[in-house]
């Protein structure tokens, strides 16, 4: 992917990592996109990578954070914050104190509000450009990063961004490496104190487990009685599949074509 990447001596990269949540069991883990961000940072030659997390330190979170250390790091900087506090000021202060060239993070958290706003707010505070949804960093040279942005359906767009910059990572970025138990256990969590900013607004919201969203009904706006009747009497879709035997290849293809067309997968 990066044939002509120049090794940048001491390219300082900070990856913001969060505690994720497994989609099936809800157990805490390293967040998928953040882990991809770490992997992306590791793919930069000569990068000097620091891991930064702001949040509460408890047993579950520690196991998840150690998941990042298991990707081959000695230490992770943890800014201790109580639950449901606004991590933005703490992170901004930490980044201002020792500004890296690149800040890489996932697009959104897997817990809490998960609005995906944090990188934007950080960018606004620091006055840095932000590029979202990255799939790869192709090159970093002369203070400019060439990156590939992931678009839906596997499409990519190439961008150049001036450093220092904030990059957020899409799920299309390369999968993170396995987290090894040994380094994860040995790694250090360097706990820093920082002022706490309570998130007052968030405290007033109601949180519930996500309901299944209702499937949109096909509402037939019919002008005539006949149309309304047809809509009401229309055969429900599905049921047994249609099997075409003894058809020519052309007829078969026609049927398949029709289905592909209906599903809108042909471009």
């Amino acid at each position: 992917m990066q044939p002509d990447t120049h090794a940048i001596e001491g390219l300082a990269v900070t990856v913001l990592v969060s505690v994720g949540r497994h989609p099936v069991t809800g157990r805490s883990r390293r967040a998928d996109q953040d882990a991809r961000g770490v992997e992306l940072a590791r793919s930069l030659p000569g990068a000097d990578i620091g891991l930064l997390h702001a949040g509460r330190l408890d047993a579950g979170n520690e196991a998840a954070l150690r998941g990042y250390l298991g990707m081959g790091f000695d230490a992770l900087t943890l800014i201790e914050q109580p639950e449901n506090s606004d991590a933005l000021p703490a992170l901004a202060e930490a980044l201002k104190a020792a500004p890296p060239q690149l800040v890489i993070t996932g697009e959104r958290a897997e817990q809490g509000e998960g609005s995906g706003l944090l990188p934007y707010l950080l960018a606004e505070r620091l006055g840095w450009p932000l590029v979202s949804g990255l799939a790869a960093v192709e090159d970093v040279s002369a203070g400019v990063a060439t990156v590939l942005q992931a678009l839906p359906r596997g499409q990519r767009r190439r961008l150049k961004v001036r450093l220092p910059a904030i990059l957020t990572v899409d799920a299309a970025a390369p999968a993170p490496r396995q987290s090894a138990f040994g380094p994860a256990q040995r790694g250090r969590l360097e706990v820093n104190e920082a002022p706490v900013a309570a998130d007052v607004e968030l405290a007033e919201w109601q949180f519930n487990p996500a309901r299944k969203r209702p499937k949109r009904l096909k509402i037939v706006k019919a002008a005539s009685a006949r149309d309304r009747f047809k809509a009401a009497a229309a055969k429900a879709e599905g049921g047994g599949g249609q099997v075409l035997t003894d058809v020519t290849a052309e007829q078969g293809a026609e049927a398949v074509y029709k289905l592909l067309k209906e599903e809108g997968v042909l471009r």
Binding site: H22, V24, G182
Partner: protein, 668 residues
């Protein structure tokens, strides 16, 4: 002149041998410490050699007799040689016995020579090719110099006839013989196997494998746990010196007979693994150097031109597997193993290949984080969802929604705890489980399941080297099991069977576990099941490694099939020599490419018997064998065959079981 020369030669070679032995011991002592009862081991050694080792060697009658003659003759001849020629105690019967011993050894060495004339591919060549000549040199020269000692030839015949040349030639031959047999034994010739092997038997890391006067040894197949609480303890094996010293000693005992290579499914499939080469690589690593002198058949992929011999090198404290590039062994080699233990079963020196491979895998997974292909994903799933497929743990019982299986949580106790295994998520295995439930209900067994409280047994995690995940799963399972009262655990998954029965003990979980074939055989013997006669075609039976070789259960499945009225058409490789299906040890997950697939070869074995159906007793085997395209035989689990053949009890047993029968019929 010989009278002065012989003691010098003999004691010089003995002294050199002692120096060599000391050097060799130093090599082994590079390894980590291991708790071994040295004296007890040494005392048990002769029995281990004469009984257990020869039990394995005797599978090949000719070679067994050859070895008895050669080795027995050599040991006797060597001891007597010291007495007769070294100490000059030639009088009386000793000389005659020495003559007989060296003659026996010579006969044996002739057989060795015959074997070496056209050796099978599995045997190593190189220095091993000169071994019969060395044996002959030793035995003949001893024989010759003993002739005057017993008076068959007049004293001084050799010198007296003035033939100094003859005397010198005899001495030269004797030096060759002593060099190979005594000096070479400890300095690294082919005879090293005798020295290292004897000590390996004495200090074996699994002493419970050997028989004692009191009874048979057990199979001792469970892996040994890592101490994860000790932060200083290395996680697995990175360098040769990370092995325990008796493991290193075991590697040194290898006699390069290649029996392991001949039975290894990965080797046969063309994957880059040759157990013999692997053990020799460990020896190379222990001593330092490159594998250029390896004289056996290389890895299959080396034969294909992929990995030529001589490019890999290692040292006692250098890495075995490099993160990048080459070291002593390539990671692919370690991940090719299916942990089927065929090599361990066949090894006459009782070397523990699988332990070594898993030790090295542990390092790759726990320290490098380099489990190949789907390995990392499977381990992540095990951590996050307690099953390798990443399914919702709450959906474990969905397959049985209509069966109303009794839950342990409601019952608190039952005679039998039915362990479902991760097959509960697999649509194919659900058929087997349904069949098993039907059988249990037909036999009116008091059973219950853990339901959603069950987790993966940890088998896959452990074979993939992730000891941490294994122990986490195992400890939680043990905690769950400790809440309930049951007589024993029944499972249709030999992998769970093995782990629960043999590997949980070290973590504090001791259970009586049995495989469903064993249990069905018991139920049948107790008259609780009745079968209609078999009407199908011919049937063969595939022994799952984790049931057979790991746990010694060869008979029960065959008894069940016999009870069904099936005459099993045995495959050439069955019983303890059964060939693996390719599904064990996480091999389908790590998926190292080879020339062909292991299950295809196994289905080829099935085809040779002409069987229309192959009975199995393991979800992995079912999946692997059913995945063979254009198979000649259908794959059915024993439980399915039994469930299909169930009939109501004959009238005498009364009406009660008929109602159960009706219940059972509703299950399927």
């Amino acid at each position: 002149m010989l009278d002065t020369l012989l003691p010098i030669l003999i004691f010089a070679s003995l002294a050199l041998a002692v120096i060599g032995a000391w050097r060799r011991v130093r090599l082994w002592r590079q390894g980590r410490s291991a708790p071994v009862d040295l004296l007890k081991g040494l005392a048990a050694m002769p029995r281990r050699y004469l009984v257990d080792l020869h039990h394995v060697v005797a599978r090949d009658k000719v070679m067994s007799n050859t070895h008895v003659a050669t080795a027995g003759g050599f040991v006797a001849a060597a001891v007597l040689m010291v007495l007769v020629h070294g100490l000059g105690l030639a009088e009386g019967v000793l000389g005659w016995v020495l003559l007989a011993a060296s003659a026996t050894m010579f006969v044996g060495s002739c057989f060795v020579a015959r074997r070496r004339r056209n050796p099978p591919a599995r045997l190593s060549k190189g220095p091993w090719m000169r071994l019969p000549k060395s044996l002959m040199a030793f035995s003949l020269s001893i024989f010759a110099i003993t002739l005057p000692a017993v008076g068959l030839l007049p004293d001084g015949f050799v010198e007296g006839s003035g033939s100094w040349v003859l005397a010198l030639a005899l001495c030269a031959v004797l030096v060759w013989g002593l060099g190979e047999m005594v000096f070479g034994m400890t300095w690294g010739g082919p005879m090293k196997h005798a020295f290292a092997g004897a000590l390996h038997l004495a200090f074996h890391r699994r002493p419970e494998r050997f028989s004692t006067k009191g009874g048979e040894g057990n199979r001792s197949t469970g892996l040994k746990a890592l101490n994860l609480d000790d932060r200083q303890a290395p996680l697995g094996v990175e360098t040769p010196s990370d092995f325990t010293w008796n493991q290193l000693l075991g590697f040194d005992a290898c006699v390069q007979c290649g029996r392991c290579e001949a039975v290894c499914p990965a080797f046969a499939a063309g994957q880059p693994l040759n157990p013999k080469k692997l053990i020799q690589d460990m020896v190379v690593g222990m001593a330092g150097g490159s594998d250029a002198h390896y004289a056996g058949s290389p890895h299959p992929s080396q034969a294909l031109g992929g990995k030529p011999v001589g490019e890999h090198r290692g040292s006692p404290d250098g890495p075995i597997v490099a993160r990048e590039g080459k070291a002593l062994v390539d990671a692919d080699t370690l991940w090719s193993c299916t942990t089927c233990r065929a090599c361990v079963e066949e090894c006459p020196m009782m070397i523990e290949h699988v332990d070594a491979i898993v030790d090295m895998r542990r390092f790759l997974t726990l320290e490098h984080g380099n489990t190949p292909n789907k390995g990392a994903e499977v381990l992540d799933n095990l951590i996050a969802t307690d099953n390798p497929g990443g399914f919702d743990p709450g959906a474990r019982m969905h397959w049985a929604a209509d069966l109303e299986l009794p839950l342990m949580r409601d019952r608190q106790q039952a005679d039998v705890l039915l362990w479902l295994g991760d097959g509960a998520y697999d649509m194919r295995n659900q058929r087997t489980l349904r069949a098993l439930v039907k059988v249990l209900r037909a036999a009116d067994v008091d059973f219950a399941v853990l339901g959603n409280e069950e987790r993966d047994s940890g088998d896959v995690a452990r074979r993939l080297g992730d000891e941490a995940t294994f122990q986490s799963l195992a400890k939680r399972n043990i905690a769950t099991l400790s809440q309930y009262r049951f007589q024993r655990i029944l499972t249709c998954d030999p992998h769970s069977f093995h782990v629960l029965g043999n590997e949980y003990g070290e973590l504090g979980g001791h259970y009586a576990v049995c495989h469903h074939s064993t249990y069905i055989a018991e139920l049948y013997d107790a008259g609780r099941l009745h079968f209609k006669p078999w009407k199908g075609g011919s049937v063969t039976y595939h022994d799952p490694c984790y049931l057979g070789r790991y746990n010694g259960e060869f008979e029960a499945p065959r008894n069940v099939l016999r009870a069904l009225g099936i005459e099993v058409a045995e495959m050439e490789r069955s019983g303890f020599r059964s060939r693996c299906c390719g599904g064990g040890g996480g091999a389908p997950i790590t998926d190292i490419p080879g020339k062909q697939r292991i299950p295809d070869m196994r289905m080829g074995d099935v085809r040779e018997t002409g069987a229309e159906l192959v009975a199995v007793g393991c979800p992995q085997c079912t999946a692997m064998l059913e995945g063979v395209v254009d198979a000649s035989a259908e794959v059915r689990d024993i439980a399915e065959l039994v469930a299909d053949a169930l009939i109501a009890a004959p009238a005498s047993t009364g009406e009660r079981s008929q109602t159960q029968e009706a219940q059972a019929a509703e299950v399927l």
